[in-house]
């Protein structure tokens, strides 16, 4: 694998993308697989533990299956515990995540297009202020938002989660960069010459070109909202409105507070955790193209 082989295989175009060298390194492969094992270990543990009965969970080795396969039994108990509250939490999470992601991606697409294709007074300033907002600590924002929302009666409603989640500064950045590279000016010119209004051009011509960028922002906002814990923790009092993260943390708190007495709750926390990560992992596997291109944009353009 010296310079000669590299010259033989010029590293341009597709050749570069599909494997740079013919040689494979065992050391690197073993190292990478060891790393992969570390990152998969907790998830494997979660799967194994979800398949155990309460007694086996405490009495058998954590990283291997025990005799009784109780996964479906555990799922049934998790779902039906406390009047199907788990399904409610799952539904809430879906509602918050999908609404925030759809709305957020639309806002970011419109604004990204505006910032990329139009010059107007204050455009740079506005853009920089939005990007600077990532520095603001979550508490600095969440505490006053909670106080404001409780004054206007929005605290302890789904809006308290959805409205703040609509704004994703990284999403705006991504869309702006994406519009610059994916939407040629000539296309807009053509639309204008045909007499189409600016908004008609956006909705009928541009939006279709933006689909991959839109999907990326959608996915990232979806994950952010799905994983959010702090905001719903402070905004919501009614357990019927909890998303899955706050609900599971509550069960975990009850289990920890009761010590050994509520050993029954721990299998539910474990199985509930498994049920809540599976949809996201599947989404990530199927939508690889989108998060990869998103992170690519983030990495290359600064």
């Amino acid at each position: 694998m010296t310079a000669e082989t590299m010259i033989e295989r010029p590293r341009t175009g597709r050749a570069r993308r599909t494997g740079r060298r013919s040689g494979r390194s065992t050391v690197l492969t073993v190292g990478m697989l060891a790393a992969a094992a570390y990152f998969l270990l907790p998830l494997f543990w979660l799967l194994v533990s979800s398949s155990k009965t309460s007694t086996d969970l405490f009495s058998t080795f954590g990283l291997w299956f025990s005799g009784d396969f109780a996964l479906f039994d555990n799922i049934g108990r998790t779902v039906s515990h406390d009047g199907n509250v788990f399904l409610r939490w799952m539904g809430n999470t879906l509602l918050y995540a999908i609404t925030a992601a759809g709305g957020g991606a639309l806002l970011a697409s419109l604004a990204g297009y505006g910032f990329a294709k139009y010059r107007f007074r204050g455009d740079r300033t506005m853009f920089m202020i939005v990007l600077g907002a990532v520095m603001v600590p979550t508490t600095a924002l969440a505490i006053p938002t909670y106080l404001l929302f409780s004054q206007i009666g929005l605290a302890d409603t789904p809006w308290a989660i959805i409205l703040p989640s609509l704004i994703n500064p990284f999403g705006l950045f991504l869309m702006t960069v994406y519009v610059q590279s994916a939407v040629p000016d000539s296309l807009l010119e053509a639309g204008r010459i045909d007499g189409a209004g600016e908004f008609r051009i956006f909705f009928q011509v541009t939006l279709r070109l933006l689909a991959p960028g839109f999907a990326t922002v959608l996915l990232f906002t979806l994950v952010n909202t799905w994983n959010n814990y702090f905001l719903p923790l402070i905004m919501l009092n009614d357990p019927d409105l909890y998303p899955i993260t706050v609900g599971l943390a509550r069960w975990q708190g009850q289990a920890a507070a009761a010590g050994g007495a509520s050993g029954d709750l721990i299998p539910l926390v474990v199985t509930g955790s498994l049920l809540s990560v599976v949809p996201l992992i599947i989404a990530f596997l199927f939508l690889q193209r989108y998060w990869q291109s998103g992170l690519m944009t983030g990495a290359v353009k600064q």
């Binding site: 107007f120 506005m126 409205l163 996201l280 290359v300």
Partner: protein
Amino acid sequence: MTATATARKARAEAPARRGRTNRSGRAGYLFVAPFMIVFAAMFLVPLIYAAYFSFFREQLVGGTVFVGFENYTRAFGDAELWTGIGRVGLFFLLQVPVMLVVALFLALALDTGMVRLSRFARLSIFVPYAVPGVIAALMWGYLYGPDFGPFAQLAEKIGASAPDFLGADLMLGSLANIVFWEFTGYNMVILFAALRAVPGELYEAAAVDGAGPWRTAWSIKIPALRGALMVCLIFSIIGSFQLFNEPNLLQGLAPTVIDRAYTPNLYAYNLAFVGQEYNYAAAVSFILGMVILVGSYVFMFLTNRRSRS
């Protein structure tokens, strides 16, 4: 109305190009307006409101009174707050270099194209990013635990006792491991993506000069990653100083180790929602925001200067 009418008139009269700029400017505002309005309502208004009420204090007698900078002077002398800031600072110094060096190494290894099953490895390493921080903390909490954690079980089997991962000495390291688990893959993918964007001619030139893989990595790839590494670092500064979910979850398992002010965000949360001291909590959050801002700028300044010299 008049403005619209004038613009329309101007467009009709002026040559095509000038007309377009006018129309463009107005349409630009309309496109960014929905985002900016929600942004103002969800970011600017709460921040201004917090800044305002950080100058007040609620008293049992006399209600809310203006106290000027009193909350801030109190915060500057608050040992609990500064212990917490020191702790997350230490956390940053411990965790972030390890995470970024490992992420960099993994990205470079993937980029050589010499790894078998590289797609599987890349996805496995990235997958924790899709796991909510709460669930990551829950899982690791159980894994660390003395009751049915596999580490404790293994130690028991060989007749030893497992280290007390949730004890006072190791807690910061245990938290660092959770954050490492969550975000190494994310950083790796960013760095890997940046590596893919390095122009191929650079590698050809290096090859012509007789550079081996290590030399290429050191002299071409790592310098090319400067921007991407900077992004990873800034996000890591922000994330470290705002640490909340993981200590909040582990608090239930180790209530004596993680106190109410273990991290500054935990402190602000407890001040506001347990102690009802909203005004003081706002001042504490602002000071934390300042620390993050100053930290990020100092960092950017240092790296920029070094690269110039």
